[in-house]
Symmetry: C2
Subunit: 376 residues, 2 copies
C-alpha cells in the first residue's frame, strides 16, 4: 500500500444530476436549506450552536405538536430514530406488541427482538390498516409494555388512524411508539392531542431536509419507563438518558453533533413553520388528490383504498404486462424523475410515488402524469 498521492483520474470532481425526487425519500431540498447547510461549522459546545439547539427543539415541538421537553434530533437518519425509540423503550424481557402491515413495521419488530423484547406481532395485508379493537384484543390475550405502529407506511402508502390504537394501548397499560418517518410535516398529526408516548421521523421526507438527522420526542409515560429501567440502554450512541444531558441545561458532551445537518434541519423547520402546519397539510392533501385523480384517468389502479391513502406516498399497481423497472428507468433517464418500485410484498407489483415537502409541487405532479401518459 502506497502512502504517496494516488492517481486522481479515478476520483473525478463530484457531480450529480438535479433529480425530480418523487420516490419514498429523500425528497427535494429547498435552496434555502442548502444555503443554510454551508454556514460555517462551529464547535458542538459553541455558544452560538447551543442557542441553535434550543431553537431546533422549539421548532420540533411545533412540528410534532407537543410540549414534551425531551424532543431532539437524533444524529443519524430515520432508521436511527426508530432504533432510538426501540432501544430506549424496550428492556430485555419486556412484552412488545408490533403492528405489522408493511416493511417498516417488520423492521421495528426485528429491532425490538434484538433489544431483548418478547415480541408479538399482529398483521394486516400490505396496504390495509389496523383498528383499535384489534390492538385491544391482542393486548387482552397477552399484555405488553410497549405497542409500536407505523403512521405512514412508506412501503404501502397506507395512513394508519391512531386515536383508537393509542387508547387501546394505554387502556392495556402499554406505552405507544409511532413511526411518522413518511408523514410528519405533511400529514395531520398531533403528538399531544393523540397522547402518543414516543414519536419519531426522518429529516428527508416531508421535512425536505437532506438525510442525516432524525427528530424524536418522548412523552411523560415514556420518560418514566426509561427512568425506571433496571438495565442501561444497550445502545450508547442513542441512549437518551445521556443525550438529554447534552440537549438539556447541563450541556454535557456526549458525541460530536452533526453540525451542518442540524443547520439544514433548522432551516427546513423554519420553512415548515413559515408555511404553517395546517397550510402544509392542506398542500400535501390537495396535490395527492390531484395525483390520484390523474393516475386514475390514466387507467391505473391505486393500491390503497381511498379512506386510508397516505397523501405523502402513493402506491400504484403496475398494469399487467408492463415492466415496472423499465418504466422507472426511462423516467429517470429521459425525464430526470425518480419514483420507486415496490418493497417486500409489493416488489414488482407497484410503483411508489412520493409527494413530500419541497417535492410536493404542482409542476412535479403535472410532469409526472404527462410522462406516465406517454410511457404507458
Amino acid at each position: 500500500m502506497n502512502a504517496s498521492a494516488p492517481d486522481m483520474s479515478r476520483f473525478p470532481e463530484l457531480s450529480a444530476p438535479e433529480r425530480i425526487l418523487l420516490g419514498p425519500g429523500p425528497s427535494m431540498v429547498d435552496p434555502r436549506v442548502m444555503r443554510a447547510m454551508v454556514t460555517p461549522v462551529v464547535g458542538h459546545l459553541d455558544p452560538t450552536f447551543v442557542r441553535l439547539m434550543d431553537r431546533i427543539q422549539d421548532l420540533l415541538r411545533y412540528v410534532f405538536q407537543t410540549a414534551n421537553p425531551l424532543t431532539i434530533p437524533i444524529s443519524g437518519t430515520g432508521t436511527a430514530a426508530m432504533e432510538a425509540a426501540v432501544a430506549n423503550a424496550v428492556e430485555p424481557g419486556d412484552a412488545v406488541l408490533v403492528c405489522v402491515n408493511g416493511y417498516f413495521g417488520a423492521r421495528i419488530a426485528e429491532m425490538a427482538r434484538r433489544y431483548g423484547g418478547e415480541v408479538q406481532t399482529i398483521s394486516r395485508p400490505w396496504g390495509e390498516v389496523f383498528t383499535g379493537e384489534e390492538v385491544r384484543a391482542a393486548l387482552e390475550q397477552r399484555p405488553a409494555k410497549v405497542v409500536a405502529i407505523v403512521h405512514g407506511e412508506t412501503s404501502t402508502g397506507a395512513e394508519q388512524p391512531l386515536a383508537d390504537i393509542v387508547r387501546a394501548a394505554h387502556d392495556g397499560g402499554a406505552i405507544v411508539i409511532v413511526d411518522t418517518v413518511a408523514s410528519l410535516g405533511g400529514v395531520p398529526l398531533s403528538v399531544d392531542a393523540l397522547d402518543i408516548d414516543i414519536c419519531y421521523t426522518g429529516s428527508q421526507k416531508c421535512l425536505s431536509c437532506p438525510p442525516g438527522s432524525a427528530p424524536i420526542t418522548f412523552g411523560p409515560r415514556a420518560v418514566a419507563k426509561i427512568d425506571g429501567r433496571k438495565t442501561p440502554v444497550a445502545n450508547w450512541y442513542l441512549d437518551v438518558t445521556l443525550l438529554r444531558q447534552y440537549w438539556g441545561e447541563a450541556r454535557i458532551y456526549h458525541h460530536t453533533a452533526p453540525i451542518s445537518s442540524f443547520y439544514a434541519l433548522y432551516e427546513a423547520l423554519r420553512l415548515v413553520a413559515e408555511e404553517g402546519l395546517e397550510a402544509r397539510w392542506g398542500r400535501h392533501r390537495a396535490l395527492a388528490e390531484m395525483l390520484w385523480a390523474g393516475l386514475e384517468r390514466l387507467g391505473l389502479a391505486l393500491h390503497v383504498a381511498a379512506p386510508h391513502r397516505l397523501p405523502s406516498l402513493t402506491t400504484v399497481r403496475v398494469p399487467e404486462g408492463v415492466d415496472e423497472a423499465a418504466v422507472r428507468k426511462v423516467l429517470l433517464s429521459e425525464y430526470n424523475i425518480e419514483i420507486a418500485g415496490g418493497l417486500g410484498e409489493l416488489k414488482g407489483r407497484a410503483w411508489r410515488i412520493g409527494l413530500m415537502g419541497y417535492s410536493a409541487r404542482r409542476e412535479n405532479v403535472e410532469l409526472l402524469l404527462a410522462a406516465l401518459g406517454k410511457l404507458l
Copy 2:
C-alpha cells in the same frame, strides 16, 4: 397546541461566526468540501450515487492504507463508528480487554459492557501510553477475544505506538480494535502494515469534513469473527452484516444514507489524496512542532512527554493561578479562536489545542501563539 404558523421572530435566520477551530474537533472545513456538500441530493440507490459509494470506499482504503473490502463510512459521527466496532466485534460473554489511558478508552469499555462483553481494563495515567508487554501480560492472566485501544487520545494528546500491541493481541488470539478518531489522515498509520483488525475514525478531525459520517474498516479476522457470531448484532442500524449488502454489489436497501454528508466526505477524501498522505502527515508534524516550540517559549508546559505527543492534538498544562475557562472565553470572543478545556482527569488542568486537517495551517499556529502571548 396551535397548528397555525408560529411567531417567526423567535426563529431568526441562521448565522454562525467563522471560527478558527483549534479544539479537539470539529476542525475547519475546506471551502471545496462546503461546495460539494450542496450538490443536489439524489436517491440513495441512484446510479450516480452508487458510483460515488464505490469511489468513497476506494478513497477510504487509501486513507486507512488497507485493501479490506469491508471499508465504509458509518451514517453517524465518530462515536457511532466506535459503537459499530464494538457492537459487531463483541458478542455477549466475550472476554474483552480495553486499554484505558483517557476518556475515549473508558467509553469503549462502557460500550463493550453494554453489548454483553466481559470487560477487563488495564490503565495508565492520562497522557501516558501502553507497552506491548502490558497487553501481553494482561492477556496471559486472562485471555480475551477482543483488545481495544486508542491511537490518538483526544482527551490527553498522547499517541499510542501500535505495532507491539497488535502483535501481543494476535499472539493471544484476540482481534484488535483501534480508535483513530483524532489521528487518521493527520498522523502516520497503516491498517494493513500494522495488521489492525478493526479501525475507525470520524469525518470531522484530521479529514476536515463536517461531522456526520465516520469511516470504519474490518479486516479478515474481524469479518471471520462477525460471520461466526451466534447472536445477531444487537444494534440494527450499525449491523455490518446488513450494511455490507448495501455497500457491496447486492445494493440491498438498509437505511437512507446521509447523501450530503457523503458528498462532503468524498470531497474531503479527494483533498487528502491530492495532498498525499505522506505530505499530509509531514504538514501535521511540522506545524505541531512549531506549536510545541512556541508554547514552550511562552513558558507553558506540555502535558505529554515528547516521544508520545500526538501531532493533531496537544495538551498544555494551565499555569498556576490562571483561570483556564476565562482564557478560552477571551480567545473565543476577541480572537474568534476555539480551543478546548481538559476532559475528565484533566478538567481545569489543561487546554487542548487541535491542529487537524484544514485547521492545521501556519497562520493559525502563529495567531494562537500571539494571542496566548498577550493573554498570559
